[in-house]
Amino acid sequence: MNFLKRWKAHIVIFFAVVGPGFITANVDNDSGGIYTYSLAGARYGYALLWTLIPVTFVLIVVQEMSARLGAVTGKGLADLIREEFGFRITFLMMLALAVTNLTNVMAEFAGVASSMEIFGVSKFLSVPVAASLVWLLVVKGTYKTVEKVFLFACSFYICYVISGVWAKPDWLVAAKATLIPTVRFELGYLTMFVGIIGATVAPWMQFYLQSAIVEKGVEPKQYRQSRIEVIVGCVVAIVVAFFITVSCAATLHVAGRQDIADAADAALALRPLAGEWASYLFAVGLLNASVFAASILPLATAYSVCEGLGFEAGVNKKFRDAPIFYWLYTLLIGLGAGLILLPGMPLVQVSYLSQVANGFLLPFVLIFMLILSNRADLMGRLTNSKGYNFVAIGTVVFLAVLTLVLVAMQLMGKA
């Protein structure tokens, strides 16, 4: 009894510190993220670990900017873009966001499909069931109660930390690879780099986090606490990414298995911890991550798009009052799930490529955020510092150059 009470108290404390920043960071490690980090480890071993250090800075800077914009202006990112840049630019941005997020939704359902395949459940059963479940969960308004369960189940990521250690990776090599950058001018390597950035600093997160901060009613006064929480969330997300990559490098890459075709392959990384049970453990974790993200992503997208274009939105509204919102939301889930059901859809590849798409969209979102968070009339005393602008502008330029290089390599490769 006493034990139970104490345990309960711990849970209460846990959820008390949990806020928008922490939730966003955890949703960030979704199906697309898990598969991307796994592929990075399996294909390139420890070679890409160093990218996580600059990516950490970028993630913190970008997330903090979102939170600050939300706290100071009290408005969502899509709202601000619309008010400051007009209809046409907003429309293009929202279109790009909707398409990119659709690929992310596909990645979530690919996660559902591949994880349930381990239990021998066909995707033709698991995906439609998951899609209906997610749709109902949000429309019926029961999501908030389930959110805590999802979040708690995210402690599954600890398995990667343990497994990563038990796999006895060559820590010296890993440390060296983390601290000393190595760059290879190969199409695959550079694409993976974009994928890692896109998986970690996903554009939809900025929209989601800013709205969540506004929704929570964080004001400049209480903003300090939110900032700490955002930074903690970012660090947790990166630590998880680091250990997923290390586990895969120490197991798959070392064993010479450089490609991950399905969930069973990716699950091998958990073998040092769970042995024969590795695939089941992985499946449960991936399923949770996928459904968690699938309940947030389509909703966040529909909100952002409607907010920016000025259509009524909200699950507390009737269908008649917000038809575009509901249609968009339903379409994202229906299309995302439906496309995964096409025969021969490469599930892991879809998840990975969705993160690359994120990486391509990110500089555009960042440009808007940069302009907005530097405006003194909007932000008052809380405009960006020089260091922030340096990191953010650097990221934009770097991603733009990387994208151009990739396109050029693609063209030359084909020609």
């Binding site: 202006t73 009290g74 408005k75 008010e83 209809f87 046409r88 429309f91 009613g217 000025g310 009524e312």
Partner: protein
């Protein structure tokens, strides 16, 4: 003739000699005249620079594709930047407004300008705002496709416009709000619950500006209906003096609920700033736990001596300037203030003149103690189908009344 702002911006302006001097870049109006009339145009050279302004009385004619001036190019003045001008593009296009008829916050897609022959020449009135798909389509495609196609497309979409008299402007700067003569008077006619919904959609700064402009009674009523989470921050943003005035106007039970959510210091300061009688009442209510009968009750009720007759009771009621909210029941007390029973208003109305009140009372005489948990309150309301229930202290002195709307609020909270 109706002109759309999205198309009016960018049309060519010619001077009296027929030479092109630039394009329209902004349209200014004086908002105190209803509907607002365009009083000034801002021009931009074709190269995007060279800004000029021209006041409306120097405009000779307005056609669909051109504006002609009465003056020559050299007589144009430098751009005027007067904050009391209301700029249609900057202040209205893409911004949010309150649709008073629809009772919600909407985003402006386009503006409709009506060209009329006025007393001194042609006039341009702001007649309506477009918040629908038609305006969105125009914003997106204007200039990108031939106008004929656009008009054809538009005719397939339902128009969704709000006439200007039902538009209320949102301005987050209180000083500019005064300069622009935005009074929000139309909002005072809304039901407090509708006004609360609107307020919840706004950003904190906009909310603050709105509440600064509205009168105490309207703010007090709306504040009781706003989400509890927002109430405290709104009140604090208005400053202690204004807050005290507003709390004074609130129903005592709503005021007590509100103050319970504030830091103790603020509460004390507020109570000190209030008229002492009301402050004492609220202070007493604050003593009770929020989820007890004492925390739910209001102290606004009408109690009469149980020995009085119907005629004197009725004449007494007529002499009360302001009857309590949801007045359905009268309470009977003895000389010491001990609860003797209650009678419904309906019974009092139909009773013969000389009938003694105590013979009219409802049976059984129900009441609750101040400490009774809210579950007991709900059970009694449910069992006896009550609208009101008196609350007494240990000596059965009447202390307050719980009304059915408070019970519904509690039930709704736990749903």
């Amino acid at each position: 003739m109706i002109l759309y702002l999205s198309e009016f911006l960018g049309i060519s302006v010619y001077d009296s000699s027929g030479k092109k001097v630039g394009v329209v870049s902004e349209v200014a109006a004086r908002p105190m005249i209803h509907p607002p009339r365009v009083t000034m145009l801002m021009l931009k050279g074709s190269n995007g620079h060279d800004e000029r302004s021209v006041s409306w009385n120097q405009v000779d004619s307005v056609e669909k594709d051109r504006v002609s001036l009465r003056i020559t190019r050299d007589a144009l003045s430098a751009p005027a930047s007067d904050e009391s001008f209301f700029l249609l593009r900057k202040d209205l296009l893409d911004q949010q407004i309150i649709d008073v008829n629809g009772r919600k916050v909407v985003r402006v897609n386009d503006l409709l300008l009506e060209k009329r022959a006025g007393a001194v020449g042609v006039e341009l009135m702001l007649s309506a705002v477009d918040i629908g798909l038609r305006g969105a389509l125009r914003r997106l495609l204007h200039g990108a496709v031939p106008k004929v196609w656009l008009r054809h497309l538009e005719s397939n979409v339902k128009e969704n416009i709000i006439p200007w008299e039902f538009v209320d402007l949102i301005e987050s700067d209180p000083r500019r709000q005064v300069k622009l003569h935005i009074s929000h008077k139309v909002l005072t006619k809304l039901h407090p619950a509708d006004l609360a919904d609107i307020v919840e959609e706004l950003s904190p700064k906009e909310r603050q500006a709105l509440f600064i402009a509205l009168d105490d009674v309207t703010v007090a009523e709306a504040l009781s209906e706003v989400k509890p989470r927002l109430r405290a921050s709104i009140l604090e943003s208005l400053g202690i003096h204004r807050a005290a005035d507003i709390v004074e106007e609130m129903q005592p039970d709503a005021a007590a609920d509100l103050l319970a959510a504030l830091p103790e210091e603020t509460t004390t300061e507020l109570l000190q700033g209030m008229n002492s009688e009301e402050a004492a009442e609220i202070g007493e209510l604050l003593e009770h736990a929020e989820n007890s009968a004492g925390g739910m009750m209001t102290t606004e009720y009408i109690a009469l001596p149980h020995t009085a007759d119907a005629a004197s009771a009725r004449s007494l009621l007529r002499s009360i300037p302001e009857l309590p909210e949801h007045f359905t029941t009268l309470f009977l007390v003895d000389e010491g203030g001990v609860l003797m029973g209650s009678i419904t208003l309906a019974r009092l109305i139909v009773a013969p003149e000389g009938q003694i009140l105590s013979t009219l009372k409802s049976e059984p005489v129900l009441s609750l103690f101040e400490e009774s948990p809210e579950k007991d309150v709900i059970d009694l309301f449910d069992k006896y189908n009550l609208l009101t229930l008196p609350v007494v202290d240990q000596q059965r002195h009447l202390m307050g009344v719980v009304t059915v709307d408070d019970v519904i609020s509690v039930l709704n909270k736990s749903r």
